[in-house]
Amino acid sequence: MRNLVRLRGSASALSTSSTSTVRTAATSSSASSSHTQRRCLSSDVRAKKIHIETDLVYPSKVRVAPLRDNITDPDYVPADRADDLEEVGGLTNWWEQPEHWGNSKRYVGFGPTEKVRDPMLLTVLVRRAVIEAVALRKFSPNIMRPEGLLAVTRGQKELLNTVEVTPIAAGDGSVTLGGEKGDWVKVWAQLSQVKRESEEVKKGPAPEPELTPAEAKVLVQKWGSEWKSLKLLDPVIKFYAAKRIQRLTGHIIPDGKLIGIETVNSLIAYLAKPPKARKLAEEIETTGVVANLSNVAFSPRRVTPLDKDISLGRWKVMKKELEKRKLPVLGTEGYQKSNLLRWAEGRAA
């Protein structure tokens, strides 16, 4: 056994616990005061310990290897060179590792990290958003910061309770809730629960929808398509619905698009539209326009000279000959072009 460990960096100044201790001197005013005043203050200066409660992960306590004379293992052979020793520890890139940052420092978005893409799930969530937006529009004059109520998603039970309310058309065709008082009360009771819930629930990430696409499809077929033709004329309702949709589905609707959305159907169609392909190769693969053409070959990446050699079958021959001559197969490995030509042209130094 050899001593195969050497420590990197100096970590002796770091404490072990998650509570950091900072020593501070007296206030800065003492530095600018007169000599007499400074002498008086110097007797009063007391080092203060400030304990900062934090969930940051600090480096562990430095462990020091036992001295050579204290090692009792008879197989121990001290290292006489540092080249072969394995390096452990060190503080390099300590704060670049995300696990060393506490939960309070991590970014939590308003919407879910993954956007909901399934059209049936989107339809159910849009129905919930529109119903809640209509209810919030009616009761919002009575409360402060009504849009704050849209930040809580809760569970599937509340989702099903909300979407079973049937939105109807008002006199001008715009969306509203049923004339019965029960629908308004039912929706508003669930929305206003936010006042009784903790701040952690409010600020936490939006949970994934527990509804499966198959279950959502059954619900959508049961509702029919009449409710989708309801108009979204009130811009406040559209704004509330868009904010709720962002929270529930992760889709952010730009203001320019929101103005053009006039019905529930157009809102669903905008959200269910598949994302635009970032590369032409993805789009060609998705649409399959050249899949049936046997004379068309499409490459999603650049065709290199190496690809051409491989397609012709001569690359294996070239590789074999290069390996036989102990030359680099790929790249130059520091070899340069011959200087003979440069000498002949008088360009060599």
Partner: protein, 137 residues
């Protein structure tokens, strides 16, 4: 009996009997990022499938060439290549260039001096209505 070499009794005339298209392969290069490839990307999505289906005798290769202008290269059966840069061109303009490559022979461009190019030139020259005895109509 002496051995006599085979004498050439005819010269190949492409199109007499069978026509062999001189263009055997067309390569299309595009870039996903550059704005000069905008028309080329639309061409590949919309016009190329129809053009390729109409020309099964031509091999079509499409591949990206990042950070470069779009390019169409024709390969011909005489071994020559003819590249055309199609930067900032509309899809219909690119189609015209592709048709040009399809119809090209692959030979180097030559200046034509004579009114008739033939492998069997006429000893009488080109007929002229202003010479001779005239023609009674």
């Amino acid at each position: 009996m002496t051995i006599r070499a085979l004498t050439q009794v005819s010269t190949g005339r492409n199109g007499v009997g069978a026509f062999v298209l001189q263009c055997k392969k067309l390569e299309f290069h595009y870039c996903d990022w550059a704005g000069s490839s905008k028309g080329m990307n639309i061409f590949i999505k919309t016009l190329l499938p129809k053009f390729a289906a109409e020309h099964p005798q031509i091999e079509f290769n499409v591949s990206p060439r990042p950070a470069k202008h779009p390019l169409v290269t024709g390969h011909y059966i005489n071994g020559h290549q003819k590249p055309i840069c199609v930067r900032n061109l509309e899809p219909t303009a690119i189609l015209q260039k592709v048709k040009l490559l399809r119809d090209a022979s692959g030979e180097k461009l030559k200046r034509v001096h004579k009114p008739v190019t033939s492998i069997n030139p006429s000893v009488r020259g080109v007929w002229s209505p202003y010479h001779g005895n005239g023609m009674a109509v």
